[in-house]
Amino acid sequence: MAHIVLDKVTKSYAGGVTAVDAVDLEIRDGELMVLLGPSGCGKSTTLRMIAGLETISSGDLYIDGERVNEKDPRDRDLAIVFQNYALYPHMNVARNLGFGLKLRRVPPAEIERRVQETARMLGIEALLKRRPAQLSGGQRQRVALGRALVRQPRGFLLDEPLSNLDAQLRTTMRLELIKLHRQLGATIIHVTHDQLEAMTMGERICIMDGGKVVQVGPPADVYRNPASLFVAGFLASPPMNLLPAAVVGSDGGGLAVRVGATTLPLPEEYLQAYAGCRDRSVVLGVRPEDLHEAAPALPQITVAANAVEMVGPEVILVGTPEGLETEASARLSRAFRAEPGDRISLGVDMRQIHLFDPATGLAVPRPDLGFEPHRR
């Protein structure tokens, strides 16, 4: 089992490019941590530094309390699964699985036993004699996973292992990985650019952007309280609506958010937290599911419908709020109907909104009232 700590880990290249910038991160023993971010954010480089495939320019990496910066990959005892699987094309599946053990001079009988056991666990016993070229993408993926499992390493590093699979297979493998994690209780670091994968798999998510860690936390926390505009715009699909707005005073000493032609009163619980934003421009963040049709009890905003997308369990309304040019989306019930051009009044669940400082891109901290969605 492995407890992995990154202390200001940095990777910079000769040309002055810094791919990973002073990353601090702790992965607890037995935890499934997801590194999430757009391509080029440094998540894969971070993983490769942990694996020992890239040198660490500065900072320290500890595994189980021991500094391992200069240690060979083989001595770190972590298994990595690559995006393209990186199977040995000239070896059959059984030899692919057993190669790491052979390098470690495990007796052949023991290799045979563990290969069989792993193959059974992954349902690939029938493929042991085949070469990688004779396997489908999903089968290769299993073999790559098996190659990591068979070694019984301290931890697993998964570098976008699902991104080459088709959508259906990805969902299946996602569930299998979660099951496997529960079964083995092993430390897993999973790198992905797919926010849905991160949300469903991760016990904690570490969101990276531009080589830096932007936010770390359990998926629900990160979703409910995005630390920055980047996180707010990256998670979920459609992502949080981010609208230019300003905080103004309202009658009776309260505060309100003026967004376009609409003024929305802020809940009392947030007055103290948002007092500093008074008379300043902010970015208002509202999740599409916090906009409700036919909710007269909530403050209303009027949008002009641009598109209505029927996605099955719900309807996504894309519209432009009055007085704005930015579009916003709302997840509405599947019974909702509208034509492009219709003006629709939506209720805003103000307890779930966030305000961001447009200059720093950071969320203005506010108390968390818990997740009590407005009931229809």
């Binding site: 690559f82 040995y88 000239h90 790491g100």
Partner: protein, 296 residues
Amino acid sequence: MSALFAPTLAARDRRFGYAMAAPAIVVLAAIILAPVALALATSLFDYTLMNMTFDRFIGFDNFVAALSSSEFANSMVVTTLFVIAVVALEFVIGFIVALMLTTVKRGKNIYYLILLIPLLINPVVVGLIWRMLLHPTLGIVNWLLGGIGVPDIDWLGHPGTAFWTVVLVDIWHQVSFMAVLLTAGLSALPTEPYEAARAEGAGTLQTFWYITLPLMKPVIAVTLLIRLIFAIKTYDLIYIMTRGGPGDATDLISYYIYRSAFARLNLGEAAAMAILLMVIVIVLTLALFRTMRARG
């Protein structure tokens, strides 16, 4: 409709293809097939430069004579040793150079240029240059060796040294061929298995043995076979440097055939030996094709 027209269209395409290829086929037939046929015919007649007529058919007598001649046997042994020595040494040196070249980051083109220079030189010129350099009394090699106290060596005049001298000169000339082909093979290898092997804890030697060598097998097979076929035909180097001597120490088969035809004037027997050599080369070529197909 298109299915209806497809056969005719394909047939027309084929006819057009043959028409375009016809001139080349005619020329090749004239300059390759005809001489081969003539050689085949010659090998079955008592045909000498003293009596250049096809008037005495002797069946396989020329082949029997060749195969029972001790000189032919000797040249076969010398050729076999030469081919094995040259191909094996060039392969080992070439592979080491190729492996080193793949790790070079800057100035790769300069190394390629240096490597290619010997390959660009005509074998006759290579022979002449080295004959000069290795001249027992006037050559620069003995002069340099003399500087460190090594007594003069008769590189080409002594049966024991002449063979290895020719081998070394051939290596100097041809090793780049191996190096360049193997470098191309190495650079075409996928990088992922290497990363995986490193992550699994393979050291340099283990990576070479378990990853590089098996992945390179097809390239190695093709490279070895091409070089083998060319090495068997080595002629110019021998003609310029040793004329098969001293004695018969460097009497490679190609040179021996030449001597049979133009020194002993026995064209019939020379043709028979040339046919035997051709059969060997064809067998090797078929092996080459098979390897290349297996790779594809």
